[in-house]
């Protein structure tokens, strides 16, 4: 277990963090009295108290979370849940400290791509014996794969968001281009062609597309699934190697061509985050912006009056509308002395009607099949129906359970993709860096 734990930690932390953990372990031994959560003092009332750390942050979402907790508390006087407002900022370090110190919340909200360390580190409870058949069956296997590490399931994936294209409806109409639907999406070639028509119609200094590529790796990999890209290949020995095949080059190649050759995508937004592109979108400088589904809330809030926009599915390729996602998750701390009660709360919290409330509050899509079928998530308003239609095609982000992925992403892939999209290096150099340099990184994590 200790070896597995060390390997897992190596995935995400630099030397300083590993050293910190070692120091922590030493301190634990020295102090000798760092009690576990099982030794938490009881208040003597017989009431079980669970701490639920939520990362909900948009007001509608916070309200929905708090209401659900209040409903549970009213119905279960013997199992009371304390809602604790967490923060996405530094959540990994905060949780790690809490886990190491035996003070973790009983119920933990996080994202699936952050769970691997905690799961392999033994900090999270395996949920398989705790969850009901109903809940297990209601969430598709593809979603469960995002929280399955080794033989265990360490989180319930409950909300997810695909990358969609937010489009200026008037500009699309003016250019006379075909508007895609989830049933008849654009192909990547057609998307490129439409972008040419749009840019020509819009005139100088304006672009059909603004790609916010501050995080180029997740965009390239997740959308790459639509073209049949995989990049990460798991062998029979369970070891992962990188291969950059023709299908892997489709999405990056299209984006690069739009920026460099066609000049239909703004080069200025390559280093931008999603929110940075919105003013240009509202001002008519860009006709389309590929963004996460939840960005619709910001558009609704900030768009000038009368701004006519729509939500389109991302282009499809050999893989159809498939794209990778890292769902939000709910887990139970391994140290929690009340796992059964925590699981009971999860069952209540993630009932389909409650999941719908959470999804609406977060402007995201539920993983629950029943919740996803709720009419409230199929209204054409704000693109809900389009998003719901795309939901079936969502897959786990390609590399989130690959050991060494964070280091590969930070040290190899991010600079390589950034240089590739800016035109500094070509496809062959991109391939060499992603694969040759990348496999060297992964090999260090897979030596056992």
């Amino acid at each position: 277990m200790r070896r597995v734990r060390r390997l897992a930690q190596a995935r995400r932390f630099g030397r300083a963090r590993r050293f910190a953990t070692a120091v922590a372990a030493a301190a634990l031994l020295l102090t000798g009295s760092a009690c576990t959560a099982d030794q938490r003092p009881d208040d003597g009332s017989g009431v079980v108290r669970l701490r639920f750390q939520s990362l909900a942050w948009q007001q509608e979402s916070v309200d929905a979370n708090k209401q659900l907790v209040a409903e549970w508390n009213a119905a279960h006087p013997d199992i009371q849940v304390d809602y604790v407002q967490g923060s996405w900022d530094s959540v990994h370090d905060q949780l790690l400290t809490s886990f190491e110190g035996g003070e973790a919340p009983d119920l933990v909200h996080d994202a699936s791509d952050d769970l691997a360390d905690f799961a392999y580190g033994g900090y999270l409870a395996d949920l398989r014996p705790l969850l009901s058949v109903r809940l297990r069956a209601d969430i598709p296997a593809e979603s469960w794969r995002t929280t399955t590490f080794g033989d265990g399931v360490y989180g319930v994936p409950f909300l997810q968001e695909p990358r969609m294209i937010m489009a200026n409806r008037k500009l699309l109409a003016d250019a006379g281009v075909r508007v895609p639907t989830a049933e008849q999406p654009w192909s990547w070639e057609e998307f490129r062609s439409v972008a040419k028509d749009l840019t020509k119609m819009m005139g100088g200094g304006r672009y059909a597309v603004a790609w916010p590529l501050k995080e180029p790796v997740s965009v390239s990999l997740n959308l790459g699934l639509s073209a049949g890209g995989r990049l990460f290949h798991r062998g029979a020995d369970d070891k992962v190697t990188l291969r950059f095949e023709d299908a892997d080059a489709v999405v990056p190649g299209t984006i690069r061509a739009m920026v460099g050759t066609d000049r239909t995508a703004s080069p200025a937004t390559l280093g931008s985050g999603g929110s940075d592109t919105l003013p240009g979108f509202f001002g008519g400088r860009y006709a389309m912006v590929p963004l996460g589904f939840s960005y619709r809330q910001q558009i609704v809030q900030q768009a000038p009056e009368g701004f006519d926009w729509t939500v389109l599915p991302a282009p499809a390729g050999a893989g159809g509308l498939a794209q990778g996602v890292s769902p939000q998750t709910l887990s139970i701390a391994a140290d929690s002395p009340h796992k059964k009660e925590a699981a009971a709360f999860l069952e209540f919290f993630l009932q389909p009607r409650n999941t719908v409330r959470l999804a609406l509050g977060d402007w995201m899509l539920p993983t629950s099949t029943t919740a996803l079928a709720d009419p409230a998530l199929h209204t054409p308003e704000f693109g809900w129906a389009t998003g719901a239609a795309v939901a079936q095609a969502l897959r786990p982000a390609p590399a989130q359970s690959v050991r060494g992925y964070p280091e590969w992403k930070d040290k190899v892939a991010t600079p390589a993709f950034q240089e590739y999209y800016s035109g500094a290096i070509g496809t062959e150099e991109l391939r060499r860096r992603l694969v040759t340099d990348g496999n060297r990184v992964l090999a260090r994590y897979q030596r056992d």
């Binding site: 910190a20 120091v23 942050w57 996405w88 370090d93 501050k214 003013p279 939840s294 809030q301």
Partner: protein
């Protein structure tokens, strides 16, 4: 005449550079203030303006409605004031010893003070967490204050050592010659001369604690105890998404105490850091 003109041009250039630097420094704050008063539609404008076209207090209202800013500010104030007072109380005698008694030990202690400033937070937090847990000080403001004192102590010590060195030892010797005992000398002669340094150091420790985020995030578990920097992050979502208007409004309010304090002490901080640098 030519030399006079050259000097004048150089002086003008210096002022221009200083002005440019000040504008550069002020830009984030001015932008923050501007953003705090902008309605949502102006936040998404392609042509943002320095002065909001339609200024509103809605962001402030929303910020106060959504988050317990006053309670958090109260917690921050309590933690920062306590940390500042304790840090100065602890650092003062230590600084006196370091300044007045030169030896290998004090040299090593001074070196350690400098080195300890280089430790990253993440290196300290887990052992610290365990220690505080054993003391039953997790999720308590006294625990947080203890951390802030430890965290601000090296720099406070460094500052105060400079101030003590700036007080001529001859004054203490003269007091001794006049018959004053050690304690009387410290209280009647040294302490009054150190007062500006004590104030500057305390205010520095205050600002450090007021702005600190990570320790508070990790150590405080319940909403009632959270400090202002932690509550500010509740306006932030995953992957950098932000509720920009209320965030700017709340951040603007959170910045004010630091600005006021800095305005009051900036001369003294400079004086403290330079004190003792030149031997008279």
């Amino acid at each position: 005449m030519s030399a006079f003109r050259t000097r004048g041009a150089a002086r003008a250039g210096q002022y221009a550079a200083l002005l440019a630097y000040l504008v550069f420094l002020a830009f984030p704050f001015l932008w923050l203030v501007s953003t705090a008063f902008k309605p949502a539609t102006e936040l998404g404008s392609l042509h943002p303006t320095w002065i909001p076209r339609d200024p509103t207090l809605a962001n402030f209202r929303q910020a106060f409605e959504e988050q317990p800013l006053l309670r958090a500010a109260g917690n921050s104030l309590l933690a920062a004031v306590a940390a500042a007072l304790i840090a100065v109380a602890v650092a003062t005698p230590m600084a006196y010893v370091l300044a007045r008694h030169r030896s290998r030990l004090t040299a090593a202690a001074t070196g350690w003070v400098v080195v300890s400033q280089a430790f990253p937070f993440v290196l300290l937090i887990i052992p610290l967490f365990l220690v505080l847990k054993n003391l039953h000080l997790i999720n308590s403001l006294p625990g947080l204050v203890m951390v802030y004192v430890v965290w601000s102590l090296p720099f406070a010590l460094w500052m105060l050592t400079g101030y003590v060195r700036a007080v001529p030892a001859e004054l203490e010797e003269a007091a001794a010659v006049d018959g004053a005992g050690r304690l009387r000398t410290l209280v009647s002669v040294t302490a009054p001369l150190l007062a500006p340094g004590l104030v500057a150091t305390a205010l520095f420790a205050f600002i450090t604690a007021w702005n600190e985020f990570f320790f508070a995030l990790v150590l405080l578990k319940t909403p009632e105890k959270q400090t202002l920097p932690v509550v500010l992050t509740h306006f932030l979502g995953a992957e950098g998404a932000a509720d920009l208007g209320p965030l700017a409004a709340a951040a603007f309010l959170a910045t004010l105490p630091s600005l006021v304090v800095f305005a009051l002490i900036q001369r003294r901080i400079t004086g403290g850091m330079l004190a003792g640098a030149v031997k008279s």
